[in-house]
């Protein structure tokens, strides 16, 4: 049985390894070289690229923005999704509404970017009119304003994903036996004990799984951000890692440097997510 399962998993593992490890090794090789296509440079430099990266503020700030964005664009959709799932659960016909909330997920990221680019557009869009009505100063300037464009992108991501989360959470809530809630009521507990003894233990694993999945997903987000901010927004305020790396490749043809950044970013992500998962696991074991 053991041997057979290894044999079944192997082809998939090999494909993933070939498609992912291959480029990864190329990246690792390139990262140790001074490789510039335009200037025809190609020589071994060891860890120089990494040393340069550690002092490169543009790179460090792109990592910071990416992490900030991935965390915000995971926690907020999960919270909104949770509240939507509570609303769905409270209505007897929630099951019929739930699929409607999946609709945003089906729109291609690039199409989403264009629809929201128009909504946020200084002249044509609805958002500036709305801001003006609220009395916000300089309402036309959303995409060119660092903080506004960040939160706009988080809001767009929330729009696209919260429905999926609401759907999954709602399904989980539906599968919690009513008996558990009744047991709390019979033993004289209130809403708070219901939350502590029924809802949190039931929901925590799925909420954690979904959050980890979304953080991983968001770290690589590029299409929408790139299209909406025209390559990174005002002063690179939204130049997330993917966009930064793409520029290293295509604008500066600085392959070695870009490759080193890719490797470094992967390990930052791996360590961050590993720590997050370990924290969740110890929490589960403690409780």
């Amino acid at each position: 049985m053991k041997q057979a399962s290894v044999l079944t998993i192997m082809p998939s593992a090999l494909v993933v390894l070939a498609v992912v490890l291959g480029p990864f090794l190329v990246l690792a090789w390139q990262s140790t070289r001074d490789l510039n296509y335009f200037e025809q440079r190609n020589s071994f430099v060891g860890t120089d690229n990494y040393v340069r990266l550690a002092q490169d503020e543009a790179f460090l700030s792109s990592v910071a923005v990416t992490v900030k964005y991935a965390v915000a664009a995971s926690i907020i959709p999960v919270i909104v999704g949770l509240s939507a799932s509570v609303a769905l659960y409270s209505a007897p016909w929630g099951g019929r509404i739930a699929p409607l909330l999946l609709a945003p997920f089906l729109v291609a990221p690039i199409v989403v970017a264009m629809v929201f680019a128009l909504l946020l557009d200084g002249q044509l869009g609805l958002a500036p009119r709305f801001l003006a009505a609220l009395g916000v100063s300089d309402p036309e300037n959303i995409v060119g304003h660092g903080r506004r464009v960040f939160w706009s992108l988080v809001a767009i991501d929330t729009w696209q994903w919260y429905g999926v989360f609401a759907y999954v959470f709602y399904a989980r809530m539906k599968r919690v036996p009513l008996l558990f809630q009744e047991m709390v009521v019979v033993s004289g507990g209130g809403a708070l004990r219901k939350l502590r003894d029924v809802w949190i233990p039931a929901m925590l694993p799925v909420v954690a799984a979904v959050t980890v999945f979304k953080v991983i997903w968001s770290l690589g987000d590029a299409e929408r951000i790139d299209a909406l901010t025209a390559g990174g927004g005002p002063h690179g305020a939204m130049r997330v890692f993917s966009i930064w790396m793409e520029r290293q490749y295509f604008r500066y043809a600085d392959f070695g440097y870009g490759a080193a950044a890719g490797i470094l970013f992967y390990f930052i992500a791996l360590v961050g997510i590993g720590v997050f998962i370990l924290l969740l696991r110890t929490r589960r074991e403690l409780s």
Binding site: S5, T8, I9, P11, S12, V15, V16, A18, V19, V20, G22, P23, F24, V26, L27, Q30, S83, A87, S90, P99, L100, L101, L102, A103, L106, V107, A108, P109, I110, V111, M114, V115, F116, L118, L119, Q123, L124, L126, W159, G163, V164, V168, A171, R172, K174, A209, V210, I216, G220, A227, S242, I243, M245, Y249, G258, A259, G262, F265, Y266, A269
Partner: protein, 270 residues
């Protein structure tokens, strides 16, 4: 009184959520029918509705962007890659689902960790290696990237589904002398085929909608044309919205399939 209030709060809340979800899609479809002149004036697009609706954007999109050809390429790419992913990934997911808990969690996570490397970081070395004249056509690189990038997602999403099948059932079949493949095909798959189809459709949706890789490899997919409609003289909004609508409609069909397959309504833990 409290119950009635609660009822209305829930209703208003749900109505808000549904509106929030659907309004931008309606907006997209509405804009696709507005004449190009509506996007030049300084008026709000809703004021421009007085000019009436038109189908011109669609006819312009079809001729201008060679949409039929692109749709053909996108469909072929999606169907082919999804078929390979399903054939490779589903047996693998089944095998992963039957591993002991600790190993299972680790294997599932290692597959998923592939997605931690941003798409761009995978894509650019492949581009650098293969994108030379006469070496490897762009669509082949693109197909392989889609394959390697979405296979882990399929495995990660279908392990919990396979886990929902009682292992005793498989053991009984094993005692009856069925081979591993027969067990998978004749015993396990019929039980979960509908939900697995849901996962497969999600993967199809992801590939159909993807635009970053196809832009880098310059493969003429349906989404690849949109960035090129952003020109120096401004965005051709009418065309963008028409193409967007035509990309959304097949995706809508796929989503209906996902919903029909009751995806996501069962266990989600590994």
């Amino acid at each position: 009184m409290k119950a009635i209030l609660r009822k209305y709060v829930v209703r208003i809340g749900l109505a808000t959520f549904v509106f929030f979800s659907l309004a931008p899609i309606m907006y997209l479809i509405l804009l696709a029918f507005l004449p190009q002149s509506s996007f030049i004036s300084n008026e709000s697009v809703f004021v421009e509705l007085r000019n009436g609706l038109t189908l011109k954007n669609f006819s312009a999109a079809v001729t201008h962007t060679q949409f039929a050809k692109r749709a053909m390429i996108s469909v072929q790419m999606t169907v082919l890659v999804v078929a390979i992913i399903a054939v490779l990934g589903l047996p693998a997911a089944h095998a992963v689902a039957r591993l002991p808990k600790i190993v299972r969690e680790r294997v599932a996570f290692s597959f998923l960790s592939v997605r931690m490397l941003p798409g761009v970081a995978i894509c650019l070395p492949v581009f650098w290696l293969f994108n030379r004249p006469g070496l490897v056509p762009g669509w082949l690189s693109l197909g392989f990237l889609h394959l390697g990038f979405n296979l882990p997602v399929l495995i990660w999403l279908s392990v919990p589904i396979f886990r929902s099948v009682p292992v005793q059932l498989e053991e009984a079949a094993l005692v009856d002398g069925l081979s591993r493949w027969r067990i998978l095909v004749c015993v396990v798959l019929p039980l979960v085929s509908r939900r697995l189809l849901g996962v497969v459709l999600i993967i199809a949706l992801l590939i159909w909608n993807e635009s970053l890789f196809s832009t880098i490899f310059r493969v003429d997919t349906v989404t690849e044309v949109i960035p090129s409609l952003i020109t120096h003289r401004g965005v051709q909004w009418g065309l963008v919205m028409a193409v967007g609508t035509m990309v959304v409609i097949p995706a809508l069909a796929l989503l209906c399939g996902v919903i029909y397959c009751r995806w996501g309504l069962e266990e989600w833990e590994h």
